[in-house]
Symmetry: D2
Subunit: 302 residues, 4 copies
């Protein structure tokens, strides 16, 4: 029988203070101040945790200290890093606690991680987020959650960075929806880049074209927000890496393969982002993938 | 020297009363009643024109009678049908008048049609529309217009079906932007279908997944509107044919080829819509392309 | 230290008597008769092993009896079946023996299987084959082998079904080359199908077209052999299943993903074979994938 | 009624002395010497024609002098250049003569060119060639011919550069088969590049891999000849330009679109060659397209 779920989450630990995790943990810390709880923060490079403590009143701790929390929230680059951290702290975890993984993880990792945590009496919920650094800062992230209903409801009030939180299914379903969401982001962004390149080659003014498309059937988040803000401005601010988007699209593709499904467009686009990560740089902003389209067409999107 | 542009457009003729043209011409007729002008309507099958006259107070006429109008608006399946009609009436046109083509035409056709009309002292403006039958009925279509500024401004007040009208460039630019917009529609729709098929194969509830995606970075007009309204409902109402969307994407692809551009994703997706038009049916609604994805994956999107 | 490699392979066991394995094991049995050794054969459905014994003078055995051989050769649908069999017999294996896996396996499985076998003092060599049932019957298969040089040389003389045997690298390299070879087969076959469909739509006689292509730069094994023999004849003899070819192409794609490589065409084609396996049937001959192309184009390749 | 076809072709003119045309015209000149006829040669840059005369005993002439020949053979970059030349000489042509166009032309151009020549009493046969500069030099080109049987037979004995000549259908069929052949070349070459890149990323020795693939089902002209000779050697000798191969694949794609066919792989590959022509250079050898694959994968094919 499973260890009973704790009824209180007075100590929360946040693991991974990257571009997303840093402001997300800030919202948890603000909530703790209101409720009289504590927010512990850990990062691989400790200076980042200390900066967080200074800015948000959280407590910078070692990984072993973080392990004792009632609620652990992780936000790391991939499921592989989650596995490493999980292996390192498995013996120090508190029975009855819950581990909420906000990483854009792999659906295959979720049941494995859940099983491993169960041996320590700990629950696992996959809860990746969407909205980028802007929504992370404003605490309006969309959270897509996989796991048993009761556990999702238990942690729901504590995820203070969420603007919208939807349980999309059982363990792994959150990762699955996130992977597909990001695959759609990748496809829509790439296609918009191709379309604008075609128009640019024919001398059409791209700003006017986008204005019309955004009032028409071809519009998407990428034509409405990303391209006007990041591409046409030539700013390409690196808030979400090209390599990570390629990884996420690859997870969706992997899900197709596992189920013997057929997703030829997602397959093609994943490969093109892999190419862009090589040619343009995996650390560049994901919108910089369109620089590869520019090279492929001899035209600048501006 | 060009024939001076007429300063009044008291008689307007609308050619092509299809699913889009019928309500569009209705808005022209309503405007004519307000301004004391006349709206003539012509359709290949005359019964449709008579029905329009009965419903909107327009005047059903022959093609030759329509040719004498001050402003001609055409809305036909492809540029080939426009060429046919144009050849048939070239001798009857009124010098100083303007021909506004709302067809989703080919950018290569526009300069040719403009040159041909100039021999009759008539201007040509390409002005395709987006928004579907709903926006056609409500008079809120987005119109993307190509042509000289002065001619665009001359006709702008008379296109009563427009919610938004943007001049995107010179002759042909309207067709170009429309083709690219529809290519993006095609890609975004297809990719969303693949993504949902993957999730369906993994047992994720598609309604919940769409709710989350529509609050996330992967959202597009297709996930927000088309798929919830037409696909998950299994209704697939045939308002815009699969074959016509394939044709439009093909125009974008053709534009890429003409400019020696590279648009690998639009290229693949065009081919997949051609396949869907064969396997599912060119007359089916464009969203029925996702039935091919269902067959490819052995899963139903519902 | 590793158990010394046996210097003799007098008892050989063959696991998996499918369309390929059955005749391959026949060549091992013939060799055994010449050298005074024994060939044991095992199949999941025992009747097939008994038929082999009757036809080739091999000895039909249980899996546990087969496990004691000096040389084990397996030829199963995927690495998953090899894992199952390996788990079942690990305790019964003979130290110093070698396991040669002719399955079209996954490169990731090879080092894992090698490590597992090492605990039992057994070597592992990956040695997938190409040439189809015809070359399996004639004993002229191409064998691509991965593993340490000394082990490859030790087993080389005993693989009597080989027409050509090349060591392509260390453990897993055989599987890797096989996966890529089959991915190329898949692409070349699909592309030829598309090309012939285009010509068919334009009324060109396909036999004459193939004759010319096969004397030109576009020729491949698929235009020279598979399409004239299997497609234009409308025979599609099921010697190598469509589902298995999709699986193999998927392994190549997986290898690309693992290495963060970019293979957009192999990615697309893998997805199209997955689609064909759903629409046409995974058990159909791999050349029947072209029936999906026929549906996509409304044309028959004959 | 058509002008009767001439029964003798004592004067032959060759238009276009490029990498292919130069040696092709050499074979015509050698044949003329045997038969007592004359071979006239013309090139846009006259020095090239004079060099041909010096080397092969042909006669360097102006375009107008060439126009009077009994048999005109043209070999130009695209149908557009053929149109230009044809327009320039239409009035000087000899009724009863035949124009054989060995350009890799567009199937849509052929009936138009045939109709135009008929007004001058001249026949048109499309007869593109395959085999590259090596076969052009050795006189063993494969010629794929479209046109009426009687005209094809009339010119057959005079095309001294042919190793194999097949009539594949009516006017335009030669161009069609050539476009598809080259599209297959493009796909097979690109896929082989991807496959080798995958193997290279996994540390497999590419020479050994090719040796095995060339004895296996994945082999093609590109793995057997082009890649070992041009890519692994890092020579990439520019005998057939990347831009021209992209153009040819584009013709095949255009044929698919015209017939509302679906060729998703040829569509993607055409776009990738267009990209390679931009990034690597349209004038580079067609095999240099694989340098783009190298960039996309961060690996060198050697």
């Amino acid at each position: 029988m499973d260890t009973p779920l704790t009824s209180r989450f007075s100590t929360v630990a946040f693991l991974g203070l990257g571009a997303m995790g840093f402001p997300m943990a800030g919202h948890l810390a603000a909530r703790s101040r209101e409720t009289g709880g504590r927010t512990l923060v850990w990062n691989r490079t400790p200076g980042r945790a200390e900066a967080h403590a200074a800015e948000f009143g959280s407590v910078a701790v070692t990984l072993q200290e973080a392990a004792g929390a009632d609620l652990i929230v992780s936000c790391l680059p991939t499921s592989a890093e989650v596995d490493e951290v999980l292996d390192a702290v498995l013996g120090q975890l508190t029975p009855g606690s819950v581990w909420v993984d906000c990483t854009s993880g792999h659906p295959d990792a979720a049941p494995r991680q859940r099983d491993q945590l169960r041996t320590a009496g700990v629950r696992f919920v996959d809860a990746p987020v969407s909205g980028g650094t802007a929504a992370a800062k404003s605490g309006t992230l969309t959270v897509m959650v996989g796991g048993p209903q009761v556990e999702v409801e238990a942690v729901r009030p504590h995820l203070a960075f969420a603007g919208k939180l939807v349980r999309v299914g059982d363990t792994g379903a959150g990762f699955a929806v996130k992977a597909v969401n990001n695959a759609l982001l990748a496809v829509n962004l790439w296609a918009a880049g191709e379309g604008l390149a075609i128009l640019g080659l024919h001398g059409v003014q791209l700003g006017a074209a986008l204005e019309v498309i955004n009032a028409s059937s071809g519009r998407s988040n990428t034509t409405e927000n990303l391209i006007p803000q990041r591409v046409l401005t030539r700013e390409f601010p690196a808030t979400f890496g090209l390599g990570l988007l390629a990884k996420d699209a690859g997870i969706a593709l992997d899900m197709a393969e596992t189920a013997r499904g057929s997703a030829p467009v997602i397959a093609q686009v994943t490969a093109l982002y892999r190419a862009a990560a090589r040619v343009i740089g995996a650390q560049e902003d994901h919108t910089a993938a369109l620089k590869l389209i520019e090279q492929m067409n001899g035209v600048e999107l501006k």
